[in-house]
Symmetry: C2
Subunit: 202 residues, 2 copies
C-alpha cells in the first residue's frame, strides 16, 4: 500500500532478468531440473530473494514458461513482406530453430501440459492458439487457406504433426539415430500445409 517510487522499476527489471536466465537454463533442462536453488546459484543471489520474487517453485516455473512462450511467439513472427506461403515458411523455420535450441525445456513443457498441469496446459494451449490463429490472420484473403471450420480443424491437426516432427527429429538427432537432414525436416514441414490444404480443401 506504499506509493510508487523511482526505485519501483528496479525489482521488475531484476525479476525480468531472472526470468530470462530461467529460460536460458530451461533450454537444456527439464522443468523438474530447474530449481530455485539452481537459479539462485546461477544468478548469484539468495534463495530467499527468489522466493520473494516468485513465491514458490510452481509459480516460478509458470513465470519462466510464460516468458519462454512470449519469446517463442515473438521469434516466430512472420515477416511483414512476401506472399502467405513465403511468410509461413520463414515463421516455420523460426519455430523449428526455437524448439531445437530450447529442446529440453520444450519437451518437458509438452509433458507437463499433456500430463495434467493446468497452468502449463493453459500456456501451451494459448501459444498453440496464437500460432494457429496466425495462419488465418496472416492470410486474410485466404490465398493459402480459407477460414472455414474444416480448415481450422486441419490446421489444428497439422500443428500437432509439426510438433511431433520436430520433437521426433530432435530426439533422434540427439541420439545419433536419424538419416534425415535438418533441411529435409524443414522441407517436409514447410510443404505439409500447402499439401494438406491443396488436397483436403478440395
Amino acid at each position: 500500500m506504499t506509493a510508487p517510487t523511482r526505485s519501483r522499476l528496479a525489482p521488475d527489471e531484476r525479476r525480468s532478468q531472472l526470468l530470462d536466465l530461467g529460460v536460458r537454463l530451461l533450454a537444456t533442462r527439464s522443468l523438474d531440473e530447474l530449481s530455485i536453488d539452481l537459479l539462485a546459484e546461477e544468478a548469484g543471489i539468495s534463495r530467499g530473494l527468489l522466493y520473494h520474487y516468485f513465491g514458490n517453485k510452481h509459480a516460478f516455473h509458470e513465470a519462466v514458461v510464460r516468458r519462454a512462450a512470449d519469446d517463442l511467439i515473438a521469434q516466430t513472427a512472420p515477416p511483414a513482406d512476401g506472399d502467405p506461403i513465403e511468410r509461413l515458411q520463414v515463421s516455420l523455420a523460426a519455430y523449428v530453430d526455437y524448439v531445437l535450441a530450447n529442446f529440453e525445456g520444450y519437451v518437458s513443457l509438452l509433458k507437463g501440459a499433456a500430463g495434467g498441469n493446468e497452468a502449463l496446459r493453459a500456456i501451451y494451449e494459448e501459444v498453440r492458439g496464437v500460432l494457429s490463429e496466425r495462419i488465418f490472420l496472416e492470410d486474410p484473403d485466404g490465398e493459402l487457406i480459407a477460414d472455414t471450420p474444416r480448415n481450422r480443424l486441419v490446421v489444428r491437426g497439422w500443428s500437432a504433426m509439426i510438433e511431433e516432427l520436430v520433437i521426433t527429429w530432435g530426439t533422434d538427432q540427439r541420439a545419433g539415430r536419424t538419416d534425415v537432414t535438418k533441411d529435409e525436416l524443414l522441407e517436409v514441414i514447410v510443404s505439409s500445409l500447402p499439401a494438406l490444404i491443396g488436397d483436403a480443401a478440395g
Copy 2:
C-alpha cells in the same frame, strides 16, 4: 507349485472376461474413474477376488489398457484385398470409429502416456509402432509410400495429426461446437497421407 488341473483355465477365462468388462467401462470413463470398486460392483464379485486377479490398481489399469490396445490393433486390421490406399482407408475408418466409441478411456490413456506413466507410455508407443509399421508392411512395393527414413518420419508426424484430428473433433462434437461432419473428418484423415506423401516424398 501345484500341478495343472482341468479347472486351470477357468481363472484365465474369468480374468479375460473381467478385462473385457474393464475395457467396456473405460470407453466412457477416464482411467482415474475406473476403480477396482467399480469393476467389482459391475462384475458382481468381491474386491478381494479382483485384487487376487490383478494385484493392485496400477496393474489392473495396465492390464485393461493392454487389452484395449489389442482390441484397437485387431479392429483396425486392413482388409486382405484392395490396393494399399483402399486398405488404408478401411483401416483409418476403423481407427476413427474405435477412438470415438472409446473416447474417455482413449483420452485418459493419452494423458497418462504423455504425463509420465511409463507403463501406459510403453503400451501407447507399442500401438503407435504397430499402426505405423503397418503402413509400410501393407505396402511392400511402396505403391503408396516408399520405406525411407524421411517417409518414416512423415508417417510419425502424420500419426500425431490423425490422433489430434479425432480427439479435437470428438471433443468439439461432444460439446456441440463443431460444424464439421464425421464424413468430412474422415475425408480429411483419409486424404492426408497421400497428400503429404505426394508432395513431401517428391
